[in-house]
């Protein structure tokens, strides 16, 4: 009895069973076996046919298993502007290093088309008052929260953040209404405490922020700070952008999850400052609270920038610490697991999702999140055309 295995198809087993009950020996075209070699399942329904696979002879037809990869035609025409944050002594500032962001020529980690020049960076988020924070953060900062300069040092020295963001939110009239000269002092202390570049954020109060940031700009002339943030309307962004121009700083143009509003604002600020002085913050809604909006707005902005829209060809910033606002990140819910890891993971996932959308600068808080994001960025800047290391044996190895 002979039959080509190829043609057997669905009813193979039924057929085989029937056959087994009728004969002692079966001969296939490709191989043969003794019925006795077959292990029979005790239930007698389905046999395990051990020898079949072993016996299939490689066919004569040899297929060369290599099919050339077509070249991905990624053709962006524009370059994102580069922004330098911080100035060294020789440049008129007091920093020991300068951070450069932007300069992209392709989408993030499309290394097969081109490698973007400046790896994204992380800035540690410092506040000028002891604001209520979730416990995992309080534990990570400890007493450093009492002194913004200590807090900044912790980020730079221990958590290896690339730079520091000081949020002067206590100047908000509804928080502490801290006087501007005190806020200036805080910035001064931080510049003394760390040698990394600095970003300075206001409270969001429409009136006081203008006065505050203009004063900061003037006091720290030449430091090339990143002043944040300057939203519409004109009476808010104009005086700050002008001060940034006069005293040599950069600004953050902030719009709320809307590409068109972002472009309008950028256009207006570009009347005052060159693109090398502007970073944009299209708003980072965190994981679970609108990250899909943030992700798509950033992706669209970056694509538009690379395709030639010069008003959007600017480096992007994310206030990633927002992630701690999500309830799942900090609420004490034992069923969800320890919040000591939940919160940091929430922050990490928020950052990495936006990293893949095109974000250049992340303002972050938890040391584990900072460490992971920096680690992932360095991995992503590794060799892309061939995997490094052997093929992981996850099938048998876990």
């Amino acid at each position: 009895m002979s039959m080509r295995r190829r043609d057997i198809g669905e009813s193979f087993l039924e057929w085989l069973l029937k056959l087994l009950s009728e004969s002692e020996e079966i001969e296939f075209e490709d191989f043969s076996l003794e019925a006795s070699e077959l292990q029979l399942d005790v239930t007698g329904v389905t046999p395990i046919i051990r020898p079949i696979m072993e016996a299939v002879k490689p066919e004569a037809r040899v297929v060369e298993l290599v099919e050339e990869l077509p070249k991905p035609e990624v053709a962006f025409t524009n370059r994102i502007s580069e922004v330098r944050i911080g100035a060294t002594k020789s440049e008129g500032g007091s920093r020991s290093r300068v951070i450069v962001i932007g300069g992209e020529v392709t989408m993030p980690f499309y290394s097969f088309s081109a490698v973007n020049p400046n790896p994204p960076v992380v800035s540690g988020d410092v506040f000028d008052w002891k604001l209520p924070l979730p416990k995992p953060l309080r534990d990570a900062f400890g007493d450093a929260m009492d002194d913004p300069a200590e807090w900044a040092k912790l980020y730079v020295d221990k958590f290896a953040a690339d730079m520091v963001t000081i949020e002067l939110t206590s100047t908000d009239p509804s928080i502490k209404d801290t006087p501007i000269r005190e806020a200036v002092k805080t910035v001064e202390n931080i510049l003394q405490a760390v040698d990394s570049p600095i970003m300075v954020g206001g409270s969001g109060d429409p009136v006081k922020d203008v006065e505050l940031l203009v004063e900061i700009a003037a006091t720290f002339e030449g430091e090339r700070l990143l002043l944040s943030s300057i939203p519409s309307p004109e009476d808010r962004f104009k005086p700050i952008a002008e001060a940034a121009k006069r005293y040599g700083h950069n600004v953050v143009a902030w719009a709320s999850l809307d590409l068109n509003l972002q472009r309008d604002l950028d256009r207006a600020i570009l009347q005052i400052l060159p693109p090398e002085r502007i970073v944009i913050d299209p708003t980072s809604a965190p994981l679970g609270y609108g990250i899909e909006y943030a992700f798509s707005v950033m992706e669209r902005i970056r694509i538009a920038g690379l395709m030639g829209d010069s008003e959007l060809a600017l480096p992007i910033l994310s206030g990633t610490s927002n992630a701690w606002g999500a309830r799942e990140a900090w609420l004490k819910i034992p069923e969800l697991g320890p919040r000591e890891v939940r919160g940091p993971l929430w922050e990490t996932v928020t950052a990495l999702t936006l990293l893949l959308a095109g974000c250049d600068l992340f303002i972050m808080m938890h040391p584990l999140a900072i460490k992971t994001v920096k680690q992932v960025i360095s991995w992503l800047y590794g060799r892309w055309d061939k995997p490094v290391g052997g093929i992981p044996d996850w099938l048998g190895g876990i």
């Binding site: 295995r5 190829r6 198809g9 669905e10 389905t46 046999p47 395990i48 051990r50 696979m53 072993e54 299939v56 490689p58 297929v63 060369e64 298993l65 290599v66 099919e67 990869l69 077509p70 991905p72 980690f109 499309y110 290394s111 097969f112 994981l287 609108g290 990250i291 899909e292 992700f295 798509s296 992706e299 669209r300 309830r327 799942e328 969800l336 697991g337 890891v341 939940r342 993971l345 990490t348 996932v349 990495l352 893949l356 584990l368 992971t372 992932v376 991995w379 590794g382 892309w384 055309d385 995997p387 490094v388 290391g389 093929i391 992981p392 044996d393 996850w394 048998g396 190895g397 876990i398």
Partner: protein, 469 residues
């Protein structure tokens, strides 16, 4: 750019009977829906029932073939659907078929652990903005190399659950042993490789199962493998370009991106299949081996990146809730339709057992807003009414700013849902973030408008202090 389909091209090939059997009165209307991917070809019954349309059907299938084809596995009624992607970026349309999260089990697992693991995977659910987030599949891993053990695992699993299954081994004999037991489940076979693909192709054909083509670290080989499988008549294929952590991560992200780019932008057939990522590889990496807590952390991180960068199915080992939750939420978020915020029905909701003296609160119909408020009310066990105003799915602050939540809208919702028949008092509480609507709403309705707290978690304290009738 991938081809743009026009409804006319489709219309020409439809039966043009305007019979309405597809639920749409005209064939042209149906063609438009097909182009938008809101209808399926199968809904036009004449096309399938009548022999004379056979050629048209084949042509339609070809035209409508998505840049990334859809592959299904699992038992009928509980299939996992992977791929079917139409666009590279979600803002271009939307992402179809959320990434399948498959959790592994292995053949030398203890009896008790197996059962509890499978129960966990089967029952795990987290309710997020009114949606149930769940795990989707099991990946059966042959660790022992022993076909009969693997077969045993398959049998046991099939008694415990009908979750869709990925059968994982590179040994055809092992795979067949399991297939014999669960062929009716239509598992996804992992994997055909350069070394075993002929045998695996046989199995895939014989058992009519989709199959993963695996060539970690070599895209040209992967393409060659897909071509070879195609030449065997197989098209239900999933791609495994290899998942690497550490210094290999750059390769992984780039290769996933190349495949998706070629499929969506250059219409490359051999790249046009769903992609499998295996974040579980973290567990065998030198750096994380024997450090379970770190492995869990990095596995969760890698999973998130792969969900964002085009994975259609992922295989995960760690099952701590803190690891799974952010990824389930990330998937839910990225796979929402960019033009339709997730919203709930507007209307008047009752919480607890309210009476005519109970508080009346207002919120918007954005799902995230509604469910945040609802869970705050529920966990404080309040008895109250909640008027959900149609803001086209926008949050409180966005809708106030965008004039989708106005005094007029609240006033007309109060009328429409007859709040004055439910309560005898004439007081209504608006969200703190909608404070600016107070005066106008009072003028329009004559009701007393109380401005509530900015965050709904403060509602209980607010009511305790200010709600006096």
């Amino acid at each position: 750019m991938a081809k743009k389909i026009s409804p006319m091209d489709i219309y020409k090939l439809l039966p043009r009977l305007n019979c309405g059997k597809c639920g749409i009165s005209t064939c042209l209307g149906f063609a438009a829906k097909l182009v938008e991917r809101t209808a399926k070809l199968e809904e036009c019954r004449p096309l399938f029932e009548e022999e004379k349309y056979r050629d048209s059907l084949a042509q339609l299938r070809e035209i409508l073939r998505p840049p990334v084809i859809e592959v299904r596995f699992g038992p009928p009624g509980r299939e996992a659907v992977v791929g079917g992607k139409l666009v590279l970026h979600r803002h271009e349309l939307r992402y179809m078929n959320p990434t399948i999260l498959a959790i592994d089990v292995w053949d030398d697992i203890g009896e008790a652990e197996l059962e509890s693991r499978v129960r966990f995977i089967e029952n795990f659910k987290y309710t997020y903005i009114g949606r149930e987030l769940k795990l989707n599949a099991l990946a059966l891993r042959c660790r022992s190399g022993d076909p009969s053990r693997f077969q045993d695992l398959a049998s046991k699993i099939s008694k415990l659950t009908d979750l869709p299954i990925v059968l994982c081994s590179l040994d055809p004999e092992v795979l067949e042993a399991a297939l014999l037991r669960i062929r009716d489940r239509r598992p996804l076979i992992y994997a055909a490789t350069e070394g075993n693909w002929r045998d695996i192709a046989e199995l895939a054909k014989m058992y009519r199962c989709p199959v993963v083509a695996s060539a970690p670290g070599d895209l040209s080989k992967l393409r060659g493998l897909v071509k070879a499988l195609n030449s065997e008549g197989l098209d239900d294929i999933v791609l495994d370009p290899g998942t690497f952590i550490g210094d290999g991560l750059a390769y992984t992200v780039n290769s996933f991106t190349i495949l998706r780019w070629l499929a969506c932008r250059q219409g490359d057939r051999l790249s046009g299949y769903p992609i499998l990522a295996i974040p579980a590889v973290v567990w065998v990496d030198e750096e994380f081996k024997d450090k379970p807590e770190e492995a869990k952390w990095m596995e969760a991180v890698l999973t998130a990146m792969m969900i964002t960068r085009y994975a259609d199915i992922v295989i995960i080992h760690g099952v701590d809730v803190w690891q799974l939750l952010p990824n389930l939420i990330l998937r839910e978020n990225l796979y929402t339709d960019p033009v339709k915020p997730v919203s709930v029905e507007p209307g008047l909701r009752e919480f607890g057992s309210p009476n005519d003296k109970s508080p009346l609160l207002v919120t918007t119909n954005f799902a995230l807003t509604y469910f945040t408020v609802a869970s705050d009310i529920e966990s404080a066990r309040l008895n109250c009414y909640l008027l959900v105003v149609d803001t086209e799915g926008l949050s409180v602050e966005s809708s106030v700013a965008g004039r989708k939540l106005t005094a007029e809208k609240i006033a007309s919702a109060m009328k429409e849902y007859r709040v004055s028949e439910k309560v005898s008092h004439r007081k209504i509480i608006i969200p703190g973030l909608a404070a600016r609507l107070k005066g106008e709403l009072e003028d329009l309705t004559g009701w007393e408008v109380l401005v509530g707290p900015r965050d709904s978690s403060d509602i209980p304290a607010f009511l305790a202090k200010y709600w006096k009738i």
